[in-house]
């Protein structure tokens, strides 16, 4: 029993963190910086991380990149393409640039023309259409344009594993964006002064930020197990672990991001503060592949 990351996994995490820090949006203004976005897109494409699964990587590696990209608000597609890659490798659909669709929405579709969807056990392929408005300022949704063409069928076990991966990747994004929102709030609390002292020195503010950190640590622990379980446990157990992680991380992320807005005070409620960009990303990842408590198999082992 060993929950530690390997050296290679730690290096992957650090590389993803560096890329996000260098080229992710450092401010709301930078979200509209097309030149930066293009550099980011090029850099992400060059890493090959969108095809981690077909290159043999485990759920843990995918989750580490997703977490760091969530933390740095990376606004180039990753979650959609990496899930599409996992469907593609299981069905033998042709290579190239794909994202995934849920219902009528193609996720994380900026600059991507083709889309795969899992319906029951059938894998369908289609094209993306017009980008649609959404809450998330870092990842765009597009219409799915039919007709959808069946490109393969998964065994039930494979479909369950893919669904577990989808929950894990969104949970990892939630943990990441929570960490980003929390750091933002702590940095602000150390410099913003009221009544002649930094606001972080007041217990009322400090305790909110302490609670957030505990929620993040708990989230990391459930996420790591679920990410490992994607490939290592029986599909039903992998799905159960993923659901538990998703429910826990989603609740935590909303609290942590709302706390970040609160700690920023008036500024936190303005468009120019990054706190709402984290909150919006968290809400989006929560509602992508949502899980309710009722769905969790509570039968204890």
């Amino acid at each position: 029993m060993d929950a530690r990351l390997t050296t290679e996994q730690r290096e992957l995490r650090d590389a993803a963190a560096r890329l996000a820090a260098d080229l992710g949006p450092g401010s709301v203004l930078e979200l509209d910086d097309a030149e930066r976005a293009a550099r980011l897109e090029k850099a992400v494409a060059a890493t090959g991380w969108r095809t981690l699964r077909s290159d043999g990587a485990s759920g843990v590696e995918v989750a580490l990149v997703a977490e760091e990209f969530g933390r740095g608000l990376v606004d180039a597609p990753f979650l959609g393409p990496v899930l599409a890659d996992d469907l593609r490798r299981r069905t033998g659909a042709p290579g190239g640039s794909w994202t995934v669709a849920v219902g009528a929405d193609a996720l994380d579709a900026r600059g991507i023309e083709r889309v795969l969807a899992l319906e029951g056990a059938r894998v369908l392929a289609g094209r993306t259409g017009t980008l649609t408005p959404g809450a998330d300022l870092t990842r765009r949704t597009a219409e799915v344009v039919g007709p959808l063409e069946a490109v393969g069928e998964l065994a039930d076990d494979e479909a369950d594993r893919w669904r577990a991966l989808a929950l894990v990747v969104t949970a990892a994004d939630l943990v990441g964006t929570s960490r980003g929102a929390h750091t933002l709030a702590c940095d602000y609390a150390k410099v913003r002064e009221q009544y002649g002292k930094t606001i972080g020195s007041y217990q009322a503010v400090a305790h909110l930020l302490a609670e957030s950190l505990a929620l993040i640590e708990g989230s990391v622990s459930v996420l790591r197990h679920a990410a490992w379980a994607v490939d290592e446990l029986e599909p039903a157990a992998a799905l159960r672990a993923a659901r538990i992680a998703k429910v826990y991380c989603a609740r935590a992320a909303r609290t942590v991001c709302e706390t970040s807005v609160q700690v920023h005070g008036g500024i936190g409620n303005t468009w120019e503060c990054l706190a709402h960009v984290h909150l919006r990303r968290a809400l989006t990842s929560t509602h992508l592949f949502p899980v309710s408590l009722k769905e969790i198999d509570l039968g204890l082992s």
């Binding site: 609670e211 950190l213 505990a214 379980a229 290592e232 408590l293």
Partner: protein, 363 residues
């Protein structure tokens, strides 16, 4: 990374499971009955080879990696057995600050359960502000003489020894005038009275009056004035679910509540308590895995304590949601959960520690 058991871990789990199948049902798991027989439970666990797992063989331990405690907690919960005795923090305190002589003398009895211990830290006037304590230990020849009043002293009614924090020097800054002692509870000058808690239990906590009790100077833990360091080690570990083994207790209660609900609808509070309990189990696994790298957690124990508190209190709320107030045992489970955000340092103190020592917020 591999969350599965290694072959050695699996064999250990198997042995433990068959031992528990015969033994678990014979020990009470709650209320005064539990506390009354806790010493017996400790010795049964130890004799069968399931307690003190990560401690040196020299002191009666098994020198196993720390994650074996996770297996122990999981199997205790699964079998509906009492949780393991929460002594890890005293063992860490003595193991880190006591001399070799004191360790040789006292660790084996602490680990094998033949000598019972209590911890004399809190006082009526010194709760969160522990360093303000006023119990004094005054040197007389080769002994110290103790005067003062301790409270929230777990198992003081059955303890053979008390790990006591007392003021030995009133003339230095208050953190620097404290020393730790191993005091015999079997002597004149000590009066023990039980405290009845909100769940009605009387055998867990006591208050202890010291009026001229004596302790040999050789039973001071560390040097004079080093009591605060000892206290910080102990309360640091007292906050860690990994040391306390409580995740077994939460798992057991959740299982019991699910059985009670049967085919009926699971209340949301219970589903959430199950999620929190699973989170805590995995969190303890991660923390104990990190110890394989020699990572020392320090103030991170306060994060773990908050997670443990939220878990226990969610389990308490689940008990209410399932049984209302009619089942005395489950009502007791709920009421007992309220103490988790107070004992071992209040939730507010934990948040102060996280804010100042981890987040650097200058609180």
């Amino acid at each position: 990374m591999d969350f599965r058991d290694s072959p050695e871990e699996a064999a250990f789990r198997e042995r433990l499971r068959s031992w528990l199948a015969e033994t678990a049902g014979t020990f009470p798991t709650s209320g005064d009955d539990y506390w009354r027989r806790q010493g017996e439970w400790h010795q049964a666990l130890y004799s069968a080879g399931f307690f003190g797992l990560s401690w040196p063989k020299e002191y009666g331990g098994k020198e196993l990696p720390p994650v074996y405690d996770v297996i122990l907690d999981e199997e205790l919960a699964r079998a509906g057995a009492p949780s393991r005795p929460s002594l890890g923090y005293l063992m860490q305190g003595l193991g880190r600050h006591g001399s070799r002589e004191l360790q040789r003398r006292f660790l084996p009895g602490m680990i094998n359960g033949t000598e019972r211990w209590c911890q004399g830290f809190s006082e009526p006037g010194a709760g969160s502000d522990l360093a303000s304590l006023t119990t004094t230990a005054t040197r007389e020849g080769d002994e110290y003489v103790i005067h003062g009043h301790k409270i929230w002293t777990s198992y003081s009614d059955v303890a053979d020894w008390c790990l006591l924090l007392a003021r030995t020097d009133p003339d230095v800054p208050r953190h620097k005038g404290l020393s730790g002692f191993i005091v015999s509870m079997h002597q004149p000058g000590i009066e023990q009275r039980p405290l009845r808690m909100i769940n009605g239990v009387t055998t867990e906590f006591g208050q202890v009056a010291f009026d001229g009790a004596r302790v040999p100077a050789s039973q001071m833990v560390g040097a004079p004035g080093e009591g605060w360091k000892l206290a910080m080690t102990i309360v640091g570990h007292e906050r860690e679910p990994a040391e306390l083994g409580y995740s077994a207790r939460y798992g057991k209660t959740v299982r019991q509540l699910l059985e009670r609900v049967g085919d009926g609808e699971v209340p949301e509070e219970l589903a959430w308590a199950a999620v929190e309990t699973e989170m805590l189990r995995l969190h303890v696994q991660r923390r104990l895995s990190d110890r394989l790298d020699g990572v020392e957690h320090g103030p991170d124990g306060s994060l773990d304590k908050l997670l443990m508190t939220w878990t226990e209190q969610s389990v308490g709320h689940a008990a209410l949601a399932v049984a209302g107030t009619r089942d005395p045992e489950l009502l007791g489970t709920y009421l007992y959960s309220r103490a988790q955000s107070v004992m071992g340092g209040t939730a507010q103190i934990q948040k102060n520690i996280i804010a100042s020592r981890i987040l650097g917020l200058g609180a």
